[in-house]
Symmetry: C2
């Protein structure tokens, strides 16, 4: 009743188990004829190598884990898809785990999988640098949308993207902008704020940061209320979800968008095009993020000498203009 093992295949093919093993994991080291016979017998028997037994000795699992800070955030969709496709192309399994926006949970999940995967893709990690460096010391790690010195990473170009966004707002006549910040331990939030502040300064705009806010629709209400107290006419929310929450609250308070206030977000999630007004947002080819991340990881996982520097990919971002940004209101 139990499944066939390498032993059964060996018997059926009249060879030693080591030969069967090679036929599967090192095909070129087995004579063509022998290999074919083995594969045929295996096929007939319905033999499939046991991944645990394999991992136990080889220490490789052909599996990579992708840890996302919040699996319900649509932003990760395309990243996940891109990563998955690339992983599959190399016959790796991608398993997805959720960190629920919590550093503790993220760490737990990682610890749990540490022995069962070949490497980690950490998307928008909430962990402190030290933890990441330590992890990277013992495992293959690639960061997505976060940079840490010494760890391979792929990010969208925040700096240039934020600059375009700010210039866009400046050219519409806005003189002050508020950044509604994401979570406190979000690297990308810090990086966005810095880029916005610098670009605003370069444009002669004043910039203010508020928050941190949990980047969900429901937290947009508080963010909107806070932002209105500043008198700023341009709001940049940490992501589209938060921006949509802001739009809702503004509508509820009869603040017109974009006539009274302009609003922009990040990620270009599906809903950004559906809400009203539709949302101006900073996007990028997220599937490429995922794809590139897996590629870096596979490079790191492969045997052979590690390249000297940890690669840092910066992929272009792009501004998507919609209806939520418009000319600044004329001063009364």
């Amino acid at each position: 009743m139990s499944r066939p093992t390498i032993f059964d295949v060996a018997r059926g093919a009249g060879v030693a188990i080591s030969t069967v093993s090679r036929a599967f994991s090192n095909p070129q080291r087995v004579a063509e004829e022998t290999r074919e016979r083995i594969l045929r017998v295996a096929e007939e028997l319905g033999y499939v190598p046991n991944p645990h037994a394999r991992a136990l000795t080889s220490r490789r699992t052909e599996t990579i884990a992708m840890v996302v800070s919040d699996i319900t955030n649509p932003h990760f969709f395309e990243i996940i898809r891109g990563a998955e496709m690339r992983a599959k192309a190399s016959r790796f399994t991608l398993v997805l785990v959720n960190a629920e926006e919590s550093a503790r949970i993220e760490m737990e999940q990682i610890a749990r999988l540490a022995r069962s995967v070949d490497g980690f893709l950490l998307a928008a990690s909430r962990l402190p640098d030290e933890d990441l460096l330590q992890l990277a010391g013992t495992h293959s790690v690639v960061m997505v949308n976060r940079q840490v010195q010494g760890i391979p990473s792929v990010i969208l170009d925040q700096k240039e993207g934020c600059r375009q966004l700010v210039v866009h707002l400046a050219s519409l006549g806005h003189s002050s902008v508020v950044y509604l910040s994401g979570p406190r331990n979000s690297w990308i939030a810090a990086s966005r704020w810095q880029a916005i502040r610098d670009s605003a300064a370069a444009c002669g705009m004043s910039a203010l940061r508020m928050g941190p806010y949990t980047p969900t629709v429901s937290h947009g209400g508080a963010a909107a209320d806070a932002a209105l107290t500043t008198g700023a006419t341009a709001l940049i929310a940490h992501n589209d979800l938060l921006a949509i929450g802001v739009l809702r609250r503004l509508a509820a308070r009869s603040v017109r968008v974009p006539e009274d206030v302009s609003v922009a977000g990040f990620d270009n999630i599906f809903a950004a095009d559906l809400c009203s007004p539709s949302l101006t947002t900073l996007s990028g080819v997220h599937a490429d993020l995922g794809r590139s991340a897996v590629e870096l990881l596979l490079d790191g996982v492969a045997p052979g000498p590690r390249t000297g520097e940890a690669p840092r990919l910066v992929l272009p971002s792009q501004l998507v203009l919609r209806s939520s940004t418009g000319p600044a209101p004329v001063a009364v």
Copy 2:
């Protein structure tokens, strides 16, 4: 440099390896004092049991796989979250894999994971009944939103939900309804159509099915065009994504919703509340679906005699009325 094993812990604690093993997997079979000493040594050494070695002998992995037909469909969000939380509560890891709306890929993913997980959660599976039955013969399987004789399942109550939806449309004066069907091999699509047809008959409405359509926004255009040719005033799309695509196309063709045509969807995804007009949809507590599914699976995974009948949970669905459905236009 290599990680500590059960051996190192045993030496450090002055006990046999089997005692260490018990301290971790069967704590109550070890004297309190011994156990504490072992755990302390393990902690000091940074010992973590190797899951592969463990799985190799015990044949249990404490991992369950959730296969979803399309991971980018927001419908699955809450289901995934519910499943994840329940799994974590029992210290199981939930790994997520994507079937990309393809039966072939679904089968591949399953085969790939068959040895590395304790069971499968199949959400909106596209596989034929026979394949599912065969799989269920060798593995623990729970279906989500699909029923197959002999396999445990959890679904939302389509029948009652569709009835409510049709009655709602009938009470608005609509006399004909079109169901824009989901994928050909979607069990839920078949089940919805049957419920819609029966309920429509009971209300004296005519019902028509069109499609199948891939349930994405982009396919809603064709669906809308097709539906308009029928002269029906009420459209029920297979899901919210398709419905949103329909809304877009109708807007583009200057067909007013709900004045000229009423539109409804399924799933109550986040965007259903954002699109304009906002979408009437049939919902349910999706997190409960995921939670219950994991519960059934854990029951099945647990050692001990299997219960006689495969349980079939039917969770209540609920109609969410929004602006996309309204009174039927008065005949010219």
